[in-house]
């Protein structure tokens, strides 16, 4: 409706395989980024930033991580919550061991610890597939949950068993801890998410991503055309866990401010899995849409009775919340099993020839 790509001819492979081959798409992304960086900070209040924008971005990052593994490499993992926890706890340990180094460095480094753990627990994927693998990844989830609760060294032997974020400053501005404003935290989270999304989008269209997709579509065939399964599967686990780990570190340091074992439990893994499947497997933009949908829906549902003026108890609202979320998930899977990303694509194609469809 708004634009057509007619007349944009490609004369070499480089331009044809660019992230945004169409000029107007590039402008569109820049407009969205400008909106997120320049308009949102001034327009949205603290509630919006703190309980909608920041968590949505963080969960999108985790969802991208899982999507790389599930949607691109075809390996099911139910351990995302655990890997996020590894990121969070290793970031916490890094800040206690090296308190003088910038927190952002710690956050980005903590992903590597998650990646190492991810590789270890990805090893079973070489022998088992499908649901068996999904169950095997639960081993990582439960083992990590247990470690976070039982190994005192991880939480510095705090009596509460929780990890708490102290105030860290960069250029004199508090960026973590209770003194940091939600605006600074939002901008930092947004920057990291944008950079990592850019990395992910380049990964999946490069050699590694194409190897993953070959493994996903049929691993034996991939092996026959010369892709090393071991390498492909383990890099998928490593990179996916890196993203999850950074998301976990961001979650604790930029959003929650404190966390304990329950922040990384199995329900968390399912939440991220929902975001990926509802958003659309094998689609980066789908991860954002799925995260936004799954995160905002319960907030909306909780607010709805108050807005409508219906007087029901908080417990009942919570029960209905569960029912509606569960029902909507089933409904969504029935209507569009390929997720919101597919709906988005269909919508775009319809819009393209909107005034004059043929």
């Amino acid at each position: 409706m708004f634009y057509r790509e007619a007349g944009q001819f490609k004369t070499n492979y480089r331009t044809d395989q660019a992230v945004f081959p169409i000029f107007q798409d590039k402008i569109g992304v820049l407009v969205i980024l400008a909106f997120l960086f320049l308009v949102v900070p001034f327009w949205f209040n603290d509630f919006w930033l703190n309980s909608i924008m920041i968590p949505t971005l963080i969960f999108s990052l985790a969802a991208i991580g899982l999507n790389l593994l599930l949607g691109y490499a075809g390996q099911i993992s139910l351990g995302t919550g655990g890997f996020m926890g590894v990121g969070a706890y290793s970031c916490y340990k890094l800040t206690t061991i090296f308190p003088d180094i910038n927190i952002l460095v710690h956050i980005l480094l903590s992903g590597f610890f998650a990646a190492i753990v991810g590789i270890l627990f990805g090893i079973p994927s070489l022998r088992i597939k499908g649901f068996y693998l999904a169950i095997a990844t639960l081993a990582s989830q439960f083992f990590l949950e247990w470690s976070f609760g039982r190994i005192g060294w991880l939480y510095n032997y705090n009596p509460s068993g929780a990890i708490e974020v102290s105030t860290k400053r960069m250029f004199g501005i508090a960026i973590t801890g209770p003194h940091a404003t939600s605006l600074t935290r939002y901008l930092i989270v947004l920057s990291i998410v944008v950079v990592l999304t850019w990395v992910a989008s380049n990964l999946v269209r490069g050699r590694i991503g194409r190897a993953w997709m070959a493994v996903r579509d049929m691993d034996i065939a991939a092996e026959l055309i010369g892709i090393r399964l071991l390498q492909a599967k383990l890099t998928a686990f490593a990179i996916s866990s890196y993203f999850a780990g950074v998301a976990g570190a961001l979650m604790v340091f930029m959003w929650l401010g404190a966390a304990e074992v329950e922040s990384f439990d199995i329900n968390h893994s399912f939440l991220i899995l929902f975001m990926v499947v509802i958003g659309g497997t094998g689609s980066l933009i789908g991860s954002f849409m799925g995260a936004a949908f799954i995160w905002v829906l319960p907030i909306f549902l909780r607010a709805a009775p108050r807005v409508l003026g219906v007087d029901i108890s908080a417990a009942t609202v919570e029960h209905f919340n569960f029912m509606i979320v569960g029902g909507l998930i089933i409904f969504f899977l029935i209507v569009e099993p390929n997720g919101i990303a597919r709906l988005w694509q269909i919508g775009k194609e319809k819009l393209r020839r909107w005034p004059f469809p043929y």
């Binding site: 068996y132 095997a136 081993a139 039982r150 034996i220 209905f320 569960f322 979320v325 909507l328 899977l333």
Partner: protein, 358 residues
């Protein structure tokens, strides 16, 4: 599709398994030898020799632990059986099995609390499980037929959420006591003086084992001797072939979900009688998952034997090795046992040799 088939492990699979065995035996032998050299205070001794000495010296305690393991194993086996029944007939990995257990138990207690006589409320609960099976088939499975297994799995997680909300809305979230006596389950225990100590068997646990055995026997007769059972096996073998000889898939699905519902109700009663009937019970679905790795998703004997192995291994490990690392290893040790098992038999306990086709 070509006729070429490739075995995943190729011709060297036997020697590889043998090599695995050899490596394991050598490591164990080295560890035991090392622990004797290092003396009885060393960690090696505590891991590799101490527990066995303890088992030998205090046999009554060992018998008690084994018995606890067998009882827990029976219940895991029942939950795993529910998974297997549904997976065999419809290819759905039914995550909702755990909440179905809770739902069965809660509806029984709920009907009784509403003033219905005990056995009538049992019948009503069975009817309710049928209603659930019918609804699930109509609302969830039928529109999702032929979808990707992952989508169906996600739909059952959606179903789990829905049932959690629905159940809490109807029955309330607080734990309830199972009506053990009213439905004729025994209480008390048999105590024996064995091996110079005393071993106690709860009558309830014996009843659970007997009922589980009877139920498995009934299912075996049902599967092997009745017309519907034959149809079920035909569907499990090949959906399309079954359709082409005039078997209605929809009817079969309702029946298997109903059968799984009855298994869930039984599990709910047994487990509820041991502790309380509460929503926390649904975690036993997660406890039964390692059984699936061990026994395979399609094997009923695998579910039962796997359940018993996991139950015994879990309790023994928790009791004898748990204190070494701070306890509560029950949550993850079954997964590691199952994964260790895969090291020797990638196809599971009763699984057929995995053959990948191109």
């Amino acid at each position: 599709m070509s006729d070429t088939t490739l075995k995943s492990d190729g011709g060297s699979s036997m020697s590889q398994t043998q090599r695995n065995w050899l490596i394991t035996v050598l490591i164990l032998a080295a560890a035991v030898a090392g622990s004797f050299v290092a003396g009885s205070d060393s960690l090696l001794y505590k891991v590799f020799v101490g527990p066995f000495v303890e088992m030998y010296e205090v046999p009554d305690l060992f018998v008690q632990v084994l018995w606890e393991g067998l009882v827990a194993g029976t219940l895991y086996a029942l939950v795993a059986l529910g998974f297997v029944l549904i997976f065999k007939a419809s290819g759905v990995f039914n995550f909702a099995q755990g909440i179905m257990v809770v739902f069965g138990g809660l509806s029984l207690v709920g009907f009784y609390a509403a003033g219905v006589p005990a056995f009538l409320s049992l019948a009503l609960s069975v009817a309710m499980m049928y209603g659930l099976a019918w609804t699930v088939e109509r609302v969830v499975l039928r529109p999702l037929v032929n979808q990707d297994p992952l989508i169906l799995f996600m739909a059952t997680i959606g179903l789990t959420y829905f049932l959690i909300g629905f159940g809490e809305f109807i029955f309330g979230g607080e734990p309830k006591t199972m009506i053990t006596q009213e439905i004729g389950l025994p209480s008390g225990s048999y105590d024996f003086d064995w091996f110079g100590g005393f071993v106690s068997f709860q009558k309830l646990d014996i009843a659970a084992a007997v009922i589980a055995a009877i139920m498995v026997g009934c299912l075996a007769v049902f599967f092997n001797k009745t017309r519907i059972g034959r149809a079920l096996r035909a569907v499990a073998d090949d959906h399309q072939a079954a359709l082409s000889v005039g078997i209605t898939l929809r009817q079969i699905w309702v029946i298997v979900w109903f059968a799984a519902g009855i298994v869930a109700l039984t599990t709910g009663i047994m487990w509820g009688a041991r502790s309380d009937v509460s929503f926390a019970l649904q975690v036993i679905a997660l406890k039964a998952l390692p059984v699936i790795i061990l026994g395979g998703l399609t094997s009923i004997p695998g579910a039962i034997v796997g359940g018993l192995i996991i139950g015994v291994a879990e309790k023994t490990a928790e009791f004898y090795w748990g204190p070494l690392v701070g306890g509560s290893i029950e949550s993850w040790i079954p997964y590691f046992i199952a994964l260790g098992f895969l090291w020797f038999r990638p196809q599971g306990l009763f699984g057929e040799k995995i053959i990948d086709r191109i």
